[in-house]
Symmetry: none
Subunit: 136 residues, 4 copies
DNA sequence: GTGGTCTAGACCACT
DNA sequence: GTGGTCTAGACCACC
């Protein structure tokens, strides 16, 4: 499995970041149904986070029907997980947008300004030059 | 001063809600430079929050240069506060959008989807159009 | 008596400002021993402050031996007040310097820097143009 | 981290003393960027003050850009904090001198006397003889 | 264990 | 009555 990227500076809790990334990979079929996942300990050591954190992410994804843990055999992407994963991604996006709106509710800015600010910030997210050369 | 509206259910801390609303009113000149603000205790009792919470909001707005507090005489909108207030509102909006982007960074959704989700959520927020013509 | 100047923005309490100015005038003989002072009510209304504030200043200056209140006849500069007034001015200056030193004790700046900062600030205090015309 | 020294008798508020000392250590690189600070609770118990007092100091230093707090991971000296810390020390010194000048504005003493009083007070502050190294 | 937020209540100096 | 400071203690989410 390609490495997940954990950003400890990000204010999203680590277990949420793990869940989001796994959901994304299941949703876009990078991790097709049936694929094995790294063990809790192994992923934890790769990401340099506490095993409890990984275990929590796996446990919650299992509740969402995206993973399936077979005891003593490991954790796998559930059959027909892709649909719920995609739905999960959408829900997460909507929740995040909802949080944004709640946060700025008191700011007295109108809708146009919000969209404009988002467009600006999306534009500023280095547009990933087609030539491919990353800075540094 | 027209009442502030505090939503205890909102996940933004109360002192942040107070700051945002005061910044907005200073920024749009509802509260012009020199205006007196309600005393800490008075606003606290109106909003039914602890005086310390209001005091924290006032103290931080003073550090931002938006309020000016004359010890034992009360708290006032600082002269030339409107500019910093408006700047402050913009910065808050940008920060919130930045947080949104950080939150969804791992979701694997593309920019178009994010804008679409925001538009949808803004639309769902009672459209407030008297004539009915949406901007956007 | 030439008007006292009260600065409500100054963080020194009003009664202290009154005391300081009266002490200065007694010390430099602008108000020689025996001179009558305005009544509490009259000075309070001139300065637009609470009569209690003026009364407190008079009371404390009486304790210092600088004023003398003759009941029903008013308040006067005490005989031989000038010496104690001058001493009082010196003491106030030393106290203020002591407070400065206490305030900056934790700043980790050396003595030279403190003197330099004071010199700079004294220099910045508009040098009172010899031509005499005040700006505005 | 070497211990901070809090003087409860000093009229500077405790949280200001904490801020000043941390600013000084960041400014002179005793606490280089990236260094972890003691946790709020730990420093509070060392200094024998309330954790809220320490939290307030950390929070304000974060708003100044000197500290950076990673939620639930601890508080650290911000990258590129040293410059702002040094600037902060200078500003604090200037403010304190400004307060001195405001305090003595009514005293009618001339600039020479003020400088003289400061020199005297600095001299009285154990002269830090290089030979007789105190530092107790 | 970490920091963040909030409440309640106290004391202070000053008006 | 005003604001400023501090304490004590609570609850939260997260690690």
């Amino acid at each position: 499995m390609r490495h997940l990227v954990i950003d400890l500076e990000n204010e999203s809790p680590v277990y949420i970041q793990i869940m989001d990334q796994l959901r994304a990979r299941v949703g876009d079929a990078t991790l097709p149904p049936g694929s094995p996942l790294p063990s809790v300990r192994q992923l934890a050591s790769e990401l340099e986070v506490n095993p409890n954190t990984v275990a929590k992410a796996y446990m919650l994804l299992e509740r969402e029907g995206i993973l399936r843990t077979l005891s003593r055999r490991g954790t796998f992407v559930a059959e027909s997980a892709d649909a719920s994963a995609a739905r999960g991604v959408d829900r997460r996006l909507e929740e995040a947008v909802g949080r944004l709106l709640a946060e700025i509710a008191h700011l007295g800015v109108d809708d146009r300004e919000v969209l404009e600010a988002l467009r600006r910030s999306l534009g500023a997210k280095q547009p990933r030059t087609p030539s491919g050369d990353e800075e540094r």
